[in-house]
């Protein structure tokens, strides 16, 4: 996984670019990594990775987003930014290097895995690029907003 900072910044940049609710988009960008709840279970001596793995598949993540969206007045309007956030997460994760395998993008229809090995998960340069891009977007957004006033 890229780190969560990269995921949230990618969500924030996307939200600003397409003028959607950034708060929800950023939350959506972290939904697939709910699979990391397993770290808490591992601490307790229980490995639930096989059970929690659907959280890190598009189907599972969209179902979670669907449930979360029901806690908003307009569930459909809340679901869209959450869904886009999820998509940004999978796009970033798609380019991670592993020795084999990848993401189960069509689970539960298929257990096949897809991945384009490009960026190592420990490569912090990706985070630096995300931070710089976010600063750039913030500056553009700030001046654009100032001009409109």
């Amino acid at each position: 996984m890229p780190d969560w900072l990269t995921h949230t910044l990618a969500g924030w940049i996307t939200g600003k670019a397409i003028k959607m609710e950034v708060g929800l988009l950023v939350v959506g960008s972290l939904i697939p990594d709910l699979v990391k709840i397993n770290l808490a279970f591992l601490y307790l001596g229980v490995d639930l990775h096989h059970f929690l793995n659907p959280f890190h598949t598009p189907a599972g993540a969209f179902f979670i987003a669907g449930i979360f969206a029901l806690f908003f007045e307009d569930a459909k309007k809340a679901f869209i930014p959450l869904g886009i956030g999820i998509i940004t997460h999978f796009i970033l994760d798609f380019f991670l290097v592993h020795v084999s395998g990848g993401m189960k993008l069509l689970f539960p229809i298929s257990w096949s895995e897809w991945q384009y090995y490009l960026i190592r998960s420990d490569d912090y340069h990706m985070t630096i690029v995300a931070v710089l891009a976010a600063i750039l977007v913030y500056i553009i957004y700030f001046y654009h907003k100032k001009e409109r006033l």
Binding site: M1, D3, W4, L5, T6, H7, T8, W12, E21, V22, G23, L24, V26, V27, L30, L42, G45, D47, L48, H49, H50, F51, L52, N53, P54, A59, G60, F63, I64, G66, I67, L70, F71, F72, E73, A75, A78, V97, H98, V99, S100, G101, K104, F107, P108, W111, E113, R120, S121, D122, Y124, T127
Partner: protein, 156 residues
């Protein structure tokens, strides 16, 4: 309307639960973990497997590394043509290779993540939690009466 939402929520929760159960029960048939592979060694002997672990020992003379599998008592011997200079005890490794002994793999590919770089992933992730919470709760608040998230400011 309220009931419709509740029914939809229950429906989605049931589907999600089914996905969780299906994954948990079938996972080893499609994407077996190393623990399952070693428990069913005869089935997987001389097949290509992949798994991850932590380096315990690097033996440059025999071109071999010993790795432990977290949360299991297993130690795996990995035979490799290329031992990287920076491989050290505690580093995280992903291995792709042929299982040619109960605890022996001849590696085709090894991906090494230095321990400090692995820890840094988690450290870099920490600021994301307050960042996401701030962005979300800046515009939304939870109404305990309606059990919904609503706008903090109608004009926001």
């Amino acid at each position: 309307m309220k009931h419709k939402r509740l029914i939809l929520g229950i429906f989605l929760a049931i589907i999600l639960t089914l996905l969780i159960l299906y994954s948990g029960l079938e996972y080893n048939n499609y994407d077996p973990g190393i623990e399952y592979i070693l428990e069913n060694f005869e089935t997987y002997n001389n097949t290509k497997i992949s798994f991850s672990g932590v380096i315990e020992e690097v033996n440059t003379t025999n071109q071999q590394i010993t790795i432990s599998i977290p949360r299991t008592p297993y130690l795996m011997e990995i035979k490799t043509d290329t031992i990287e200079d920076n491989m050290q005890k505690g580093d995280i490794v992903e291995i792709l290779g042929v299982l040619d002994g109960k605890y022996h793999v001849t590696a085709e590919k090894i991906l090494v993540i230095q321990q400090w770089k692995y820890d840094l992933i988690f450290i870099r992730s920490l600021p994301a939690i307050p960042f996401a919470l701030y962005l979300f709760f800046r515009t939304r608040r939870f109404n305990k009466k309606t059990f919904r998230f609503e706008w903090r400011d109608k004009d926001a």
